[in-house]
């Protein structure tokens, strides 16, 4: 199973973290520091798998972001590379030519998409279309809710 997902920029700034195993806050920051150090120091032509503390970390670099996923020793690394690529493609489709700024300002949307993709550390949805459909449906619901909240009748109902 996937233990955690980490997105780190080239300068070492964390853009997204998602933890599927219990880690305390201190452990989380320690892990992030360690792993960023290891991965950011690797050259471009080296292989995408790192052994770390008995687990394996699969990482891939897209533009200025490193996408890292930590898996058990017996999981298939090539499969996880596929999962990372899958995620990036979905993000691309959703944001339309995604860049790092999109992830900074809409980080919660990245979270929601990741939630649709992985559940309990396993891949749950391997079709990009389905994920896109679900997310847009949810977005519509949110929009509807916001509109309703912003409507005058609602404000009146609140104040009275």
């Amino acid at each position: 199973m996937i233990h955690f997902v980490l997105l780190v920029s080239r300068q070492g700034k964390v853009r997204l973290t998602k933890w599927y195993s219990p880690y305390t806050q201190k452990e989380r920051s320690k892990v992030i520091r360690e792993l960023s150090g290891v991965i950011l120091n690797r050259g471009p032509k080296l292989c995408n798998f790192v052994e770390w503390r008995g687990y394996k970390v699969v990482y891939k670099r897209y533009a200025s972001l490193y996408f890292c996923m930590c898996i058990d020793a017996e999981d298939n690394e090539l499969e996880v590379l596929e999962i990372i690529h899958h995620y990036v493609e979905i993000l691309d489709r959703y944001f339309g030519s995604v860049c790092e700024l999109d992830l900074i300002f809409h980080f919660h949307k990245a979270y929601y998409i990741l939630d649709e993709l992985l559940i309990a550390g396993e891949l749950q949805e391997s079709s990009k279309k389905t994920v896109a459909r679900i997310i847009s449906a949810q977005d519509q619901m949110v929009e509807a809710a916001k509109e309703e909240a912003g409507s005058i009748s609602y404000i009146i109902a609140q104040t009275t």
Binding site: M1, V14, R15, L16, T17, Y20, P22, T24, Q25, R28, S29, I32, G43, K45, L46, C47, N48, F49, V50, E51, E74, N76, E77, L78, E79, L81, E82, I104, F105, F107, H108, Y111, Y112, D115, I119, A120, E122, L123, Q124, E125, S126, S127, T130, I134, A137, Q138, M141, V142, A144, A145, K146, E148, A149, Q158, T159
Partner: protein, 852 residues
């Protein structure tokens, strides 16, 4: 209304990015703002505040557990927008110790039963992340319902959650398992992959309980074309096949088919891995796998190279031929840029080592070590050392070559493994008699080289070299040069404890030379002047070299230096006299002979648990309570002056302090026997102030019994097995292998038993889950049979619980029973046999014969 002026998340982020310095103050200001806002009653304000907080927590590591209750409030809103934010905050911050965890059960239940599938999915996500035992227990009926929902989206998520629920609350298996198994037959690939994923995890925890489902898995393996599913299935099969070998035969065929047909490298790799790890007995499959590995190895992509090497290393133990075939590829990989690849190649190379090629491989590796960076260089060195020293050097035939290799290693510039080399030098010296001359030669070469003295990492090696030279000085060709090397002024760079060894070696050499000089004196009537001069030279050199050390700061060095100088002083007179030493009353001669005798006794290797084998002599008490020392040494221990004892309660375990306290107690109670044993004073104190003492589990302190926690050494003592002579190898080799002294390392067996014990303990946690699965499967099969043949009374029993009426599981079982067997009438009578008893008594789960 407040939220019109509230900073939204975007504003927060923008503000953060504009802030170049003072990030922490910005964060703390934002936190304060959030704390204020989150207490508002308006849900929108709350949710925005929570949103910002979750951002800070996720990206900047701010603690957000204090907002748990507020998160709950936000989740209870009916707006999807708020719910989403609330659930995200919850999944991020809740953990097992969150106090408001109990309150979430109802909310989750409401959402799980909701009509809106997205709300359901949010709740399922949340459950999957924070599920605890109580939550799992309370919500498993809902999850069970969702497993049969008509919306595949929901079903898929429910399947994913099921794993976590099972993990936390194994009894849920009885409820949900059947639905899970039904889902195996679904045509929807997403659900299928989710179900298979769940089984994959279950199988890795406990393969035997999933064994009865093997036929279904097999069907999917043959039919499916979806790579994700296939990979998971292969993992399941590798776990199952290791438990059930007959399965391997059947499965090898389809796996080979997949390997040949597919384009996806990930699938190929998984097939290869499965074949190599679990199906290694099937030759055809293994050959195909090895062919695929070779394809991987020649690719340019470093990922594939690494994976190919990794697969080879899994195959190596059983299929060494595969590794040998690809030897050139492996050697080429040693010079690759990627450290991972290099490391794998190194491990593979080490696996290939046998007696014949050990020297060749070491030669290649030493060349690489000289060329590579320090990290890899040391890796090479340590792996060569560990492989060669395995099992008391069983791989080495030519010890002379190996010893010179050790010397070479010491000269590699990046070498940092001094301790290991030191250990091996001394070890070989002790165990292998025939290698000693070469050892002394190599040590001599190391000692006379002044450059090595400067390298801190090599100091352990130098200490070993000097010890070896001193101990086996009889093999050295030129003791004079040896002594010169040992006392050279540059040895000041060495740490004191190594200098002490140097001086001691000098002493040994001196004794040896003097001894031979004196015996030469006796045997030949007169001494030639050259011999006399050389011995005088030797003594002078030593004296000059050691004399400055007699004032050294370090105790060891000083003492040894003085010993040597004293000995020299005594011996010099006798040498100078040049007397005909027919009369053996010359003191120096006697002393020298005595010393020689002492030094000539061999030091042999000691086994690791030799101490336990020594019986405790009778009358020797091994106690922890040193207070009883009072009786024995009371008169020697001076009491501490009372004014120097501070009034504050210093925790100090000195016996004398205890004595003072007891004395004061004694004097206050008008008894004045200062020499009383402290234990009896303690007992008195206890009697007087007994209610303030915590209950102690120890024995009565007055008793003198041996403590229970140390088992008497006699129990552990087995026969002391010294295996002095390793039986000589058969004359396969041109040169017969020298004798290596081995010892019975009985300690290893004890280590494995304790490991076995800890393994047993960890198994019990998984046992409940596996038992539950087994029982569920048993029900499954019996239920199926019942549907086929009606009215079989024995089997009805399985379903109906009798005396456990009060357990809540009963209701769930009845529900399940009703849903499963709609066509059949449920009988009102309870049969007397209990299902769980039957299930647990059947330890062996029957393997379906459909597969064989």
């Amino acid at each position: 209304m407040d939220n019109l002026f509230q900073r939204s998340l975007e504003d927060l982020i923008k503000g953060f990015r504009l802030q170049l310095l003072g990030e922490s103050s910005f964060i703390s200001r934002a936190l304060e703002e959030i704390r204020r806002e989150v207490k508002a009653t308006d849900l929108s304000t709350k949710s925005t505040a929570l949103h910002k907080l979750s951002y800070l927590a996720a990206i900047h590591g701010v603690d957000m557990s204090w907002a748990a209750f507020h998160a709950l409030e936000v989740v209870s809103s009916s707006r999807f927008h708020h719910k989403r934010i609330g659930y995200q905050a919850i999944t991020q911050s809740f953990h097992d110790q969150t106090s408001v965890l109990l309150l979430i059960t109802n909310q989750l239940r409401k959402d799980l039963n909701s009509v809106n599938e997205y709300e359901v999915s949010l709740a399922l996500e949340c459950l999957s992340r924070i599920g605890t035992r109580d939550l799992a227990r309370d919500l498993s009926p809902e999850v069970f319902t969702l497993l049969g929902s008509s919306k595949s989206f929901v079903r898929k998520k429910a399947t994913g959650v099921v794993l976590r629920v099972f993990d936390k609350y194994p009894d849920a298996v009885k409820v949900c398992f059947k639905r899970l198994v039904e889902n195996l037959e679904t045509s929807d690939p997403q659900i299928l992959s989710a179900v298979v994923g769940v089984f994959c995890e279950l199988a890795s925890k406990d393969p035997t309980s999933c064994l009865p489902l093997a036929p279904e898995f097999f069907k999917i393996l043959v039919d499916s074309r979806n790579n994700w599913v296939l990979i998971k299935l292969l993992k399941i099969f590798s776990k199952l096949a290791s438990v059930e070998p007959r399965l391997g035969r059947k499965v090898a065929e389809p796996i080979c088919e997949h390997m040949k047909r597919t384009v996806a490298k990930s699938l190929v790799f998984e097939c290869v891995r499965t074949v190599v790890s679990s199906l290694s007995d099937h030759e055809a499959a293994v050959e195909l796998a090895v062919a695929k590995i070779r394809e991987f190895l020649v690719e340019d992509d470093p990922n594939l190279k690494y994976l190919g090497l990794h697969a080879l290393s899994i195959a190596a133990p059983k299929h060494l031929w595969a590794v040998l075939e690809n030897k050139e590829a492996v050697v080429k990989a040693l010079s690759d840029e990627d450290p991972n690849v290099k490391l794998e190649a190194l491990h593979l190379l080490m696996a290939m080592v046998t007696e014949d090629n050990v020297s060749e491989i070491s030669r290649i590796l030493m060349n690489y070590a000289l060329k590579s960076d320090p990290l890899f260089c040391n890796e090479i060195i340590i792996s060569v050392l560990s492989v060669c020293s395995r099992n008391a050097y069983e791989i080495i035939v030519d010890f002379d070559w190996y010893v010179s290799l050790l010397g070479e290693m010491a000269r590699i510039p990046h070498c940092q493994r001094g301790e290991e080399i030191e250990h091996q030098l001394i070890d070989i010296g002790m165990r292998v008699r025939d290698a000693r001359p070469q050892l002394v030669r190599v040590s001599w070469a190391l000692l006379i080289d002044p450059a090595l003295l400067g390298n801190m990492f090599l100091h352990p090696i130098l200490s070993a070299a000097s010890w070896v030279s001193g101990e086996y000085v009889e093999f050295s060709k030129n003791p004079y040069e040896l002594v010169e090397a040992l006392v050279q002024p540059r040895t000041d760079l060495l740490p004191p404890y190594i200098r002490a060894i140097y001086i001691h070696s000098v002493f040994k050499v001196l004794v040896f030379c003097l001894g031979s000089y004196f015996s030469a004196q006796e045997s030949s009537s007169g001494s030639s002047s050259t011999v006399y001069e050389s011995i005088l030279n030797l003594v002078n050199v030593i004296e000059i070299g050691v004399w400055p050390l007699s004032g050294a700061y370090d105790v060891e060095v000083q003492e040894r230096a003085k010993n040597v100088l004293g000995f020299i002083g005594m011996a010099k007179q006798d040498i100078a006299k040049n007397v005909n030493l027919q009369d053996n009353d010359a003191e120096a001669c006697r002393v020298t002979a005595f010393m020689e005798d002492m030094f000539s006794e061999e030091l042999g290797p000691i086994s690791a648990n030799a101490q336990e084998k020594v019986c405790v002599p009778d009358g020797l008490e091994l106690e922890e309570n040193l207070g009883d020392l009072e009786e024995i040494c009371g008169k020697f221990l001076k009491p501490v002056e009372s004014d120097s004892v501070s009034c504050t309660d210093k925790i100090s375990f000195s016996v004398s302090k205890l004595r003072i306290r007891d004395q004061q107690e004694a004097s206050s109670s008008s008894t004045s026997l200062p020499a009383k044993a402290s234990s009896s004073l303690l007992a008195e104190h206890r009697k007087r102030h007994g209610m303030y003492y915590l209950t102690s589990e120890k024995n009565d302190p007055d008793s003198n019994g041996t403590p229970k926690d140390y088992p008497p050494a006699n129990d552990l003592a087995s026969e002391i097995l010294l295996d002095p002579l390793d039986p000589k190898r058969k004359a396969k080799h041109r040169k017969s292998r020298p004798v290596v002294v081995k010892l019975d390392e009985g300690g290893e067996s004890r280590i494995t038993t304790s490991q076995a014990k800890t393994k047993q303990e960890s198994v019990t946690d998984d046992e409940s889950l596996s038992r539950a699965i087994q029982s569920a499967l048993l029900v499954n099969k019996k239920g199926k049979e019942r549907e086929k043949c009606e009215g079989n009374s024995n089997l009805v029993v399985q379903e109906e619980e009798t005396s456990r009426i009060e357990k809540p599981q009963n209701s769930e079982k009845k529900k399940k029973k009703k849903k499963k067997k709609n066509g059949e009438r449920t009988s009102g009578k309870h049969r007397s046999r209990r299902r769980s008893e039957v299930a647990s008594s059947s330890e062996q789960v029957e393997i379906p014969d459909l597969l064989l």
